[in-house]
């Protein structure tokens, strides 16, 4: 009896530290965000709020949501558009381009060494510390000292087409945003896809070759159809993580708003939804409004997760590299 109880308690004992962390860093902030989203907490009443959580100086209101949805904040529609551009384009790279990449690496390129070099070169941004990655890009695109413009000129891009500042000139800044995030994110899809391609029985590919398929036809008629689930999985996963991620943009463009960078992300047209929330909170100190903006994202995320679960079923979602054979 005691033994049986021990058996049941033991896993919880092992899980406890992680559950505590999850509670502290995920659950508690979620409740706090929901609460703050309905308040007018800002720099003005922040000190009072810190001293006494239930101070009457913090008012409960739905003004924040009015601003988001009823045009109270004229800039929010621009943020929405930038976010769509960001998620859509980076997704194209992370879920679409990485598929072509994986097929090349795992199937078309028969040379092991070349395949390895390609694989590593796409993994580099993932294993580089984020801040270094951002710094390297900052140097790379520098109009005076950076290598990017000379390199583009060298391959024949006319001088007139090159921006004076990759950071600030639209649409170059937006292209930069997409490339920088795409490069770092493509490796996730690449890892999932290459594992899935490697798990396709070689006989299946040999059969297609004997049936008269060219390498391209093998990829189109056999490999890609068999990667349906990995593709959906990567797309779903990346959509969620892109919606919430702004770290690289923050590191390269700063948070904008009223802070030290004085709206550079905004001017550059790279102000995505999650960064906007961040900048409202930490550059403009509008905690209540920032929380409301985040909440919108949380709701979208939950809706997407529900949709995905309906679409894949829980089981399939938990088996990322599954190939249907």
């Amino acid at each position: 009896m005691a033994k049986g109880l021990g058996r049941k308690a033991l896993p919880w004992l092992f899980l406890a530290p992680m559950l505590a962390l999850i509670a502290l860093s995920w659950i508690a902030p979620l409740f706090l965000t929901v609460y703050l989203g309905f308040t007018d907490l800002s720099i003005k009443n922040f000190l009072a709020f810190i001293r006494n959580f239930f101070t009457e100086k913090v008012h409960i209101t739905i003004d924040n949501f009015r601003r988001v949805f009823m045009g109270g904040d004229p800039y929010i529609s621009e943020v929405f558009k930038v976010t769509l551009l960001y998620v859509g384009s980076v997704l194209l790279i992370n879920a679409g381009y990485s598929l072509l990449l994986s097929i090349s690496i795992a199937y078309l390129v028969r040379n092991e060494i070349l395949s390895m070099i390609l694989r590593v070169s796409w993994l580099i941004p993932r294993i580089t510390p984020g801040i270094i990655y951002a710094l390297v890009w900052n140097w790379f695109i520098d109009p005076k000292y950076g290598l990017l413009n000379p390199m583009l000129s060298a391959i024949g891009v006319p001088k007139a087409w090159l921006p004076s500042s990759w950071l600030l000139d639209k649409p170059y800044s937006q292209i930069l945003m997409i490339v920088v995030n795409g490069y770092i994110g493509a490796s996730f899809g690449m890892i999932v896809y290459t594992a899935a391609i490697k798990s396709i029985p070689p006989d299946l590919i040999n059969a297609a070759l004997v049936d008269g398929a060219s390498d391209f036809q093998v990829a189109r008629n056999v490999i890609i159809p068999l990667l349906r689930w990995p593709m959906l999985f990567v797309t779903a996963w990346q959509t969620l993580s892109l919606l919430a991620s702004y770290d690289v943009i923050l590191m390269i463009w700063g948070s904008g708003g009223g802070g030290g960078y004085a709206g550079i992300a905004r001017a550059a047209g790279v102000m995505v939804w999650s960064l906007y929330s961040y900048s409202k909170a930490f550059s403009e100190y509008m905690y209540g409004y920032a929380s409301a903006i985040s909440l919108v994202l949380v709701v979208i995320g939950i809706v997407l997760i529900v949709v995905y679960f309906k679409l894949f079923g829980f089981r399939r979602l938990m088996e990322p590299s599954r190939v249907e054979v």
Binding site: A207, A213, N221, P225, L226, V325
Partner: protein, 362 residues
């Protein structure tokens, strides 16, 4: 239809020598079986003929055209894989139509051909299903259909019956053979089942450890095995072997001395063997031995050890010294373990092999 020639073909995977110096000719319309134990290089050989693997050395000819460097799609080969390798995301219809679509055959033509092949293989009621919804035997026929629909010059079959149950296997054996004769397509059939090879093929290439051991028709393999490996591999239960040496007695006659027993040999046979080798392995098939309760000419004395009834026949294990010989005979005489008995050999059907190079002497 074409004649397929393998000219000194080898395939190495790093240090692994999968196939070494293979010479093989498959005649136009011929049904050849590649027979050998697991890992002897059968699949590798097929994949080289199909063009999936490029030989490390040697040439492959279709008729007189060198196809060694041609990719699979330019060889017009049909292949049934060991695993069937049906496309799981396509219906049976699309599986069979796939090679035709790649050949850009017109739609109605594809439809006609798919239905014809499906009818021939009796899978016309399964066309809308996916491979996952088929039994092993049905999958095997779909795989065959896919290989046949493109009307290949060469048909390659890699142990197509190995996943089927015994009954279906025997049924499909006959059906495959009939089909092959009907279509007259040059066929290479891989198997490790000697009964399958013997019952289906015009000629059999026996392989071991990547090397061709013998290439002959079924009767030839059975009656005149070229070496110890083939002798032991063909026939069930396998041939009995005894090591020993050939000696001459005082009167100028010859006998085979196995230590545990001596076996008198006819003079010409003794002369013939001893002119080639003294240390030999004698082999005789279980079905070429007669059991006798009395000593006879050309017999070996032993004791009944175990009797295994097989229905139509019985296999008697006879102990001679510390060796066990198998004898296939008809049931009838009551045999008790421990009973004294004589193995009477048919002198014309005894084989002798050189002990050192293992080649057949007679």
């Amino acid at each position: 239809m074409v004649k397929v020639t393998l000219d000194n073909v080898s395939k190495f995977f790093g240090k692994v020598r999968a196939v070494t110096d293979l010479n093989l000719e498959v005649g136009d319309g011929e049904f050849v079986a590649l027979l050998g134990p697991s890992g002897c290089g059968k699949t590798t050989t097929l994949l080289m003929i199909a063009g999936i693997y490029r030989p490390s050395r040697g040439r492959i000819l279709f008729d007189n055209e060198d196809v060694t460097g041609l990719p699979p799609k330019d060889r017009n080969v049909g292949m049934v894989f060991q695993s069937y390798a049906l496309y799981p995301h396509m219906t049976v219809y699309d599986n069979i139509a796939f090679p035709l679509k790649l050949k850009k055959v017109p739609k109605q033509e594809i439809d006609r051909k798919v239905r014809k092949v499906a009818k021939l293989l009796r899978i016309d009621n399964l066309l809308a299903r996916r491979p996952g919804q088929l039994s092993g035997g049905q999958q095997q026929r779909v795989a065959l259909g896919r290989a046949l629909a493109k009307e290949p010059d060469v048909l390659l079959l890699d142990e197509p019956l190995s996943n089927l149950d015994a009954k279906l296997r025997i049924l499909m054996r006959a059906e495959l053979k009939r089909l092959q004769k009907e279509l007259r397509v040059t066929t290479v059939y891989v198997t490790h089942d000697q009964v399958e090879a013997m019952s289906m093929a015009d000629r059999i290439a026996v392989m071991n450890a990547g090397k061709l051991q013998q290439y002959a028709d079924p009767q030839g393999l059975y009656n005149k095995p070229a070496n110890l490996f083939v002798a032991g591999f063909i026939g069930s239960p396998p041939m009995n072997f005894v090591e020993g040496s050939i000696r001459e007695d005082l009167s100028g006659g010859y006998y085979f001395d196995a230590g545990a027993f001596k076996f008198k040999l006819p003079k010409e046979l003794g002369e013939l063997i001893s002119s080639k080798s003294i240390d030999v392995v004698m082999g005789f098939r279980p079905e070429h031995v007669k059991l006798s309760l009395n000593r006879e000419e050309y017999s070996i004395e032993g004791q009944v050890y175990v009797v295994e009834p097989l229905g139509r026949d019985i296999v008697v294990n006879v102990k001679v010294g510390d060796m066990l010989f198998k004898v296939v005979t008809k049931p009838g005489v009551e045999l008790r373990p421990g009973q004294r008995i004589w193995l009477v050999l048919d002198v014309d059907k005894i084989h002798f092999f050189d002990k050192f190079n293992e080649r057949a002497i007679v």
